[in-house]
Each structure stands twice: as structure tokens, then as C-alpha cells.
């Protein structure tokens, strides 16, 4: 679906490369996330993938097309939600969607249905000028979905959303991916990436040191330990760590289990954030 090989990019007039020969492949229906600190080149990568920046070297193929030569036909097949959800503020939500819908010649979605899906149908006839950031973010996703895109590009899709709306958007994104839409998202938000992405790529200084599924990363790079919290004789909390390997025959572990004082048991997995720091030697923000 998306095949990128040896992609390098240098902004005109700039003396150094922003992307230094990156490679990645994204399969149909996959949710693929780019994670990286500010200035790593996430937006640059997305802008190349959507055909806005043309002067790259290497090969970028999306939907079987080399992006360098892709024209307006390409835009019939992709959907893009930029980080800043901008609209015609004097038009209503539904008018904005109708306007953007009129730009496509292929099959499109009914704007009202999209608004319903993100819980905005009650605000369809209100001017966007009065919308909150969260409402605009939801409308932004609707706009990107208008043309039933085969590939969906989302920049920070859950930023500025409360947990309920963030979950709603994540559910929609997952549903689209199940229906076969390929989804590429960029984010600083590790937990959103952890919950949504089939695979993530760490992008640092224009290189990709690691691509894997969040689950594999967390399990593979976490220290394989079990932490047990229990109450001691005085009734205060204490914790003890045990090696996960051979834990079934560890006498100290078994004694603690049968003592009846155990409050919690957790494996200690690394969070995506910790892994990121470990791999790249850098924080995310």
C-alpha cells in the first residue's frame, strides 16, 4: 500500500537534510504511527506522502503511484487531517462539509452521517466560528473521511480532545482500519499510539531506528519481572520483585501468595515512552 525506500529530503534553501534516507512499508488496513520528538521530521514525512512536498530523493509509492508524479487524481483516493483543524468559520459545520464534498468527483459520504458518527449532528447548522477545539478536531476527521479514502493521514488526531471524544475518534479510526482503510498517523501521544497502532516507527533526527508493534516493543524491552505489593505485619504496604522466568517454582513467591496479604500483582512492562527514551536516548517532548 505504502512503500518508502531511501527517502531523503532537504528543504529548499536549507543546508542539511531533514530526512536522511528512511525506509518503511505499510500494509493495507494497517494503522501505522510515527512517533518522535518535535522537529524529528514527522510532518515533513507526512507532507511528502500526501504529495505536498515534491523535491525528495528515493522512492515513495502510495497506492501504486510514485508520489512525485501524482496529480489531482491521487487526492480522490486519500484523506488528510492536518494538526490544526481549520474551516470556513462563517459557514456552518454541514456547509463546510458540503463545500469540501463538492470538490470530489468519486463517491462520497453523506456529511450528516459523518457528523452523527462523531456526535456533532446536533451542531450541524451552527457556524464553525463558535466551535471548541474538540469539536473542530471531530469535524476535521469528518472532512478527511468525506471521499471514503483508501489511505487516511492523521496528524495528532486526538490532541485537544476529552477522554470520551478521544475514545470516540479512536473507535472510528479502528473501524475504518477494519474496513480496509490504511491509516498513517503522527503523534506525540504515546498512549494513543499504544492503543491504536498496529505498528509504530520511531523517528529521530530524520532516521528511523526502530519499527515494531507497540505490544512487541513493550514486552520485548520490558524487564521480565513481577512486582507484588502486600501488607506486612504492621499493616503497611510493601513490595517485592520476582523474576518472571521460573516464577511457578519460586518458594518465596508461593509463600507470599498463600499468606493472603497480597494486594496487587503486576508484570513490569516498559511503557512505549520508556522504550522510546531507551532506544533513542531522547524524551518525546
Amino acid at each position: 500500500m505504502i512503500e518508502v525506500n531511501g527517502l531523503a529530503y532537504q528543504y529548499p534553501g536549507s543546508s542539511s537534510q531533514v530526512l536522511k534516507g528512511i525506509d518503511f512499508h505499510i500494509a493495507k488496513g494497517e494503522i501505522f504511527g510515527f512517533l518522535g520528538p518535535s522537529g524529528a521530521g514527522k510532518s515533513t514525512t507526512q507532507n511528502i506522502l500526501i504529495g505536498a512536498l515534491k523535491g525528495y530523493t528515493g522512492s515513495v509509492r502510495v497506492l501504486g503511484l510514485e508520489i512525485r508524479g501524482a496529480g489531482s487524481r491521487y487526492y480522490e483516493r486519500i484523506g488528510v487531517a492536518f494538526e490544526f483543524p481549520n474551516f470556513y468559520s462563517r459557514l456552518t459545520a454541514i456547509e463546510n462539509l458540503q463545500l469540501f464534498r463538492s470538490l470530489y468527483s468519486g463517491t462520497t459520504e453523506e456529511p450528516m452521517k459523518l457528523l452523527e458518527a462523531v456526535g456533532l449532528s446536533g451542531h450541524a447548522k451552527e457556524k464553525v466560528a463558535g466551535f471548541s477545539k474538540g469539536m473542530r478536531m471531530r469535524l476535521n476527521l469528518c472532512r478527511a473521511l468525506l471521499n471514503r479514502p483508501e489511505v487516511l493521514f492523521l496528524d495528532e488526531p486526538t490532541s485537544g480532545l476529552d477522554p470520551v471524544n478521544a475514545k470516540m475518534l479512536k473507535d472510528i479510526i479502528r473501524e475504518r482500519s477494519r474496513e480496509g482503510t490504511t491509516i498513517v498517523l503522527t503523534t506525540h501521544n504515546m498512549s494513543a499510539a499504544e492503543q491504536l497502532c498496529n505498528r509504530v516507527a520511531f523517528l529521530v533526527d530524520g532516521t528511523i531506528p526502530l519499527i515494531d508493534s507497540p505490544r512487541a516493543l513493550m514486552v520485548g524491552l520490558g524487564s521480565r519481572k513481577v512486582v507484588v505489593e502486600y501488607r506486612n505485619q504492621n499493616g503497611s504496604m510493601e513490595s517485592a520483585g520476582f523474576e518472571l522466568d521460573g516464577i511457578g517454582s519460586d518458594p518465596a513467591f508461593q509463600k507470599l501468595l498463600s499468606s493472603g496479604t497480597v494486594e496487587t500483582i503486576h508484570t513490569r512492562e516498559a511503557t512505549l515512552e520508556q522504550i522510546f527514551i531507551e532506544v533513542t536516548g531522547r524524551g518525546l517532548s
Binding site: 510532518s43 507526512q46 507532507n47 500526501i50 504529495g51 505536498a52 512536498l53 489531482s72 487524481r73 487526492y75 480522490e76 486519500i78 488528510v80 492536518f82 494538526e83 490544526f84 481549520n86 474551516f87 470556513y88 468559520s89 462563517r90 459557514l91 456547509e95 458540503q98 463545500l99 469540501f100 463538492s102 470538490l103 470530489y104 468527483s105 472532512r143 471521499n147
Partner: protein, 237 residues
């Protein structure tokens, strides 16, 4: 043609931003002005008003629209759709031209009735509006603010006002001096609504306006690609 309905949204947008109200007001004032002045001056003043209407208003209104769309950060999302720059330019230009022609005809007809000259007046207004809208668009995409736009606009539009200086007498020797300017063509067409004009003059007027309109389209497209499309994805908060 995909993108054709955008024309109607462009008009809707102009209505929402009060363009039609503003033009309505201006028309009202112009009509009143024409009624109260001595009848002998009406024709000349009608030509000058009709000239200033698309050339000045069209120019500033497109500037306003571009600064507004840019300020609202619309371009990023607009140009990751199949919408092409040429369609955008055509839709913007024609929608504003429609407004100019409507108001020019309204003013003329309210004062002089349905004269035979109304047609050529409408044509002159349309041509002038197309040229100045594209010129204003090209200037606006370069400007970072309203003040910047006003500053730049005097540079770009003043040379085109030269034929006004000799208004009245220019149909003589000035034809060869100023006859290559689009606004010379505008004045010839508008004036011909009131007086018989040689076919050669009319043809020259149309040719020179058509030539400058094509040039303005090409220039506006280049400016837009350079200042707007190159910045897609940079984001405006």
C-alpha cells in the same frame, strides 16, 4: 465538471462575509449620487463609477478574501483535495465578476433605463473585473497582513490608473501612448455605452483586456503556487 459547484459556495461565502450587503450599499449611494447631480454630468460620472467599481472594489475584495482564507488556514485542507489551482482561480474570479457586473448593470439601469449601451457596459465591467481580481489575488498572496496588502496594492495598481489622468481627451493621441494598458480598454468599452465608438477602438480595447487578463491569470497562478501551495502543511493555528 468536478469543482463546478464550488462557484456557488464562493458566492455563499461572499454573502456571509457581507460582500453583497457592502456592494448593495455602494450601489445605493452611487445611484443617489447620479440622481442628484446635473444631468449633463451623469454619463461621465457613470463611466467613472463603473470603472472604479470592479477595478477598485474587486481588487480589494479579492484581497480581503485571500487574506481571510489564509488567516483561517483553509488552504492546507483545500489543496489536499482534487481541487486544482486553476479551478480555484476561475471560481474566485468569476464569482466576484458576477458581483461587479450585477452592480454595474443595476446602477446603469436605475439611472438610464435599459439602454442599448448596457450590454457593452456589462462586458467592459466583466473584463475589468477579471483583470483586477486576478491582479489583487496575486498581490494578496504575497502580503502578510491587510496593511501589507494596502501598501503593495498601490504599487501594483497605480500604473494602471494612468489612462484616468487623460480621461476625456485620451481618444486622440493617447490611444498610442496608453492604448496598451488594460484600463484604457476598460474606459473605451464603458464610454462606448454612451457614444458611438469606432470598431477598431472596440477591438483594440477587447484585445488589450484579453491579453492582460491572460497575463494576470498566469501571474496569479504563479504567485499562488509560490506563496501558498509551497506552504501547504506548515499549518496556521
Amino acid at each position: 465538471m468536478p469543482g463546478a459547484p464550488i462557484f456557488f459556495y464562493d458566492i455563499k461565502l461572499q454573502v456571509r462575509h457581507g460582500f453583497y450587503t457592502a456592494y448593495g450599499l455602494v450601489c445605493g449611494i452611487y445611484i443617489l449620487l447620479l440622481y442628484v447631480m446635473p444631468a449633463s454630468m451623469r454619463e461621465t460620472v457613470n463611466v467613472l463609477l463603473t470603472f472604479s467599481d470592479p477595478s477598485a472594489l474587486g481588487f480589494f475584495f479579492i484581497g480581503g478574501l485571500v487574506l481571510l482564507e489564509r488567516g483561517q488556514g483553509i488552504y492546507d485542507s483545500l489543496f489536499v483535495t482534487p481541487y486544482r489551482l486553476e479551478q480555484y482561480l476561475i471560481s474566485k474570479t468569476l464569482s466576484l465578476t458576477l458581483l461587479s457586473v450585477l452592480s454595474a448593470v443595476l446602477i446603469h439601469v436605475s439611472v438610464f433605463g435599459f439602454t442599448a449601451g448596457a450590454g457593452v457596459l456589462a462586458a467592459g465591467t466583466a473584463f475589468t473585473s477579471v483583470f483586477f481580481t486576478l491582479l489583487g489575488l496575486g498581490v494578496a498572496v504575497k502580503s502578510r497582513s491587510v496593511n501589507g496588502f494596502f501598501f503593495l496594492s498601490s504599487f501594483y495598481s497605480l500604473p494602471f490608473m494612468l489612462p484616468l489622468l487623460s480621461y476625456g481627451g485620451f481618444i486622440g493621441a493617447e490611444r498610442w501612448l496608453l492604448g496598451w494598458l488594460p484600463t484604457w480598454g476598460s474606459l473605451v468599452l464603458l464610454k462606448s455605452a454612451f457614444e458611438p465608438t469606432a470598431a477598431g477602438m472596440l477591438i483594440q480595447a477587447c484585445l488589450v483586456l484579453a491579453f492582460w487578463s491572460v497575463l494576470a491569470f498566469w501571474w496569479a497562478r504563479r504567485q499562488f503556487a509560490r506563496y501558498v501551495l509551497a506552504a501547504v502543511g506548515e499549518g496556521i493555528q
